[in-house]
Symmetry: D3
Subunit: 135 residues, 6 copies
């Protein structure tokens, strides 16, 4: 059970209603998921998070599917079940196939393994890897 109740459309103050309307318009669906409804207990936090998410996850030098895959990879590493479910759903909507999901999970598993091999053995960074964009 969430610490605070989700905010329904009926109970939403104006600032929240405006964000809900923009989520609906941007996504082309009436559905507002629990994350936004619980976040709405703090209208300023809701508005800021939605604005940032739109700015970060849209088209850029990385395409939206790649960004969703990265989002899922982080969420797996942090063990956030909600985020894995919601962002893998979003990734599927942007074209992720089951094969791509399994490859994503393979890379995440491998990275988590080698991260700990490196850390466990205290491997020093090679000069060749220092400041890759400063050479």
């Amino acid at each position: 059970m969430p610490l605070l109740p989700p905010v329904s459309d009926e109970a939403a103050p104006a600032e929240v209603a405006a964000v809900y309307a923009d989520i609906r318009a941007t996504r082309g669906t009436e559905f507002i998921n629990n994350f936004w409804r619980v976040l709405a207990n703090d209208p300023a936090l809701l508005a800021r998070t939605w604005t940032d998410l739109k700015a970060v996850m849209g088209e850029g030098t990385l395409d939206p599917l790649t960004k969703e895959l990265i989002y899922v990879a982080v969420s797996i590493t942090n063990g956030c079940d909600y985020c894995i479910a919601s962002h893998s759903t979003a990734a599927k909507a942007r074209g992720m196939t089951p094969e791509m999901l399994m490859e994503l999970v393979s890379v995440v598993g491998m990275a988590n393994e080698t991260n700990r091999l490196v850390t466990g053995l205290q491997v020093p960074v090679d000069d060749a890897f220092m400041g890759p964009f400063q050479k």
Copy 2:
């Protein structure tokens, strides 16, 4: 300082030398970075890790650059400095620009933020996000 010393070419037993040779052939460079040289203190671990990495990070339904970006995202979340340096260097070699790196870091930051907003408020998973490939 690493817990165990890196294994030089001269000191490498046959199983290690074979992996070093395959790394050189696969990558087209004489350079063997510290990760492999320290891992070589356990030849079986070295061989297994290299074999797995080649299998996981090669061309698939996800391209090698996307896989490196995911690798960096996990390494940032785990705080593995060596892995961030080595895999961002690898990503750059596969085409990552400074702009792409900054976008990657933005997504990783945003995901880490919202992972904790979700967890902190104990938001329950929406039915719409359950088992995205089971519908």
Copy 3:
């Protein structure tokens, strides 16, 4: 389901019963929550943890509410659902309002984001921030 069963009042050996009694006296309630009852499978661990918690979480140069907020912040970052639920309940009992909870979650989210921006870009520590109490 817990790995080991909770220890009821009836089944509690003397060392456990003494801790249960002190929890009840200290908190002014008959209720003993699951954490202590499962920990009671190791009476020495139970006694040590309760003694430490009383010492750490009481009045000091930081007040008990601030300490509970810090406890919740750590529990969110670690993704410990039980700890988020129990310590946010404790924080509410010490005066945390819904507004304060939302601000706490905002700070925790922001810190998790910037922690990763810093780590992802490998930002070196400024001299001005070195050893703040050694100047």
Copy 4:
């Protein structure tokens, strides 16, 4: 070494210069720390992060010192050395004494310990702790 170079005042484009100016005005110092200078490689990320940080860390129902203590607690749990150094310096400027720092660290250590006791034994959440603000 950071992945990308810090952006000097001389090299700063207009959007970055505007943020630098606001940091200086807000903090009443000429000093701009490395975090902002490296983030400036992505002017939009720099501007967004600074705007968010000002909104989140200012006076609210929680005071700025409490927010800095929470920031440090998260940074310790994530192992972000830069963030520990910079935000403990900020906390000291807002009144944190060495005694308060040691208490903060004690609470963070204790929370990390009990988080794992709970998780390791798979303790189920008591009904009494469910949805503390929904009763």
Copy 5:
């Protein structure tokens, strides 16, 4: 609900069926747990993970029970409920008693606490601890 459905014996392609057969032969039981059945959506990942696990977790200079205890310790620290449940069951089958489990959890809790005390205070590594096998 898992993101992808478990693969039943009936639906298993040849490569998956071969791994299932080897799991059954190695463990001396007909039971195949959910982890392998969901992993089977990617036969190559399934085969690689099973091969690696057999190599890593068998008899070596560390005995299989010690290895399972280490596995549980990592799983607790990462908050992986499935892994805690499955590997503590495996550890019990190799001789772990309730007393040993409670001691394991105590050590994991203590390590998580002192890890954060060290990190929070930014304690520098003593020369005496550098490269323990390089002296």
Copy 6:
């Protein structure tokens, strides 16, 4: 640089001096490592941590070497460089060989990998693994 200075023998108040004396007597060496000297800025925290550590890490149903291996495994997973260095040195003093260290690191790597495979695919716990000591 540590946030607070290490406490020398000369500057140690009575409560700290007593702990230093017990560390020396228990370990049979004059050497006091940085962890205790920095912790000594809070004599109560120092005394409590030392007392707990002696209780947890001594002989029990698990032997001291196994406990040190578990300590190192947690420290690797948390990325605590100081703790990896100090507890692998302690493990070596209790009999850990380079071969055992490499096996430990292999298990830690493997556990971190499969933890994320499980989490990434949201694998549900099998009934057979529920409450292993409650059957």
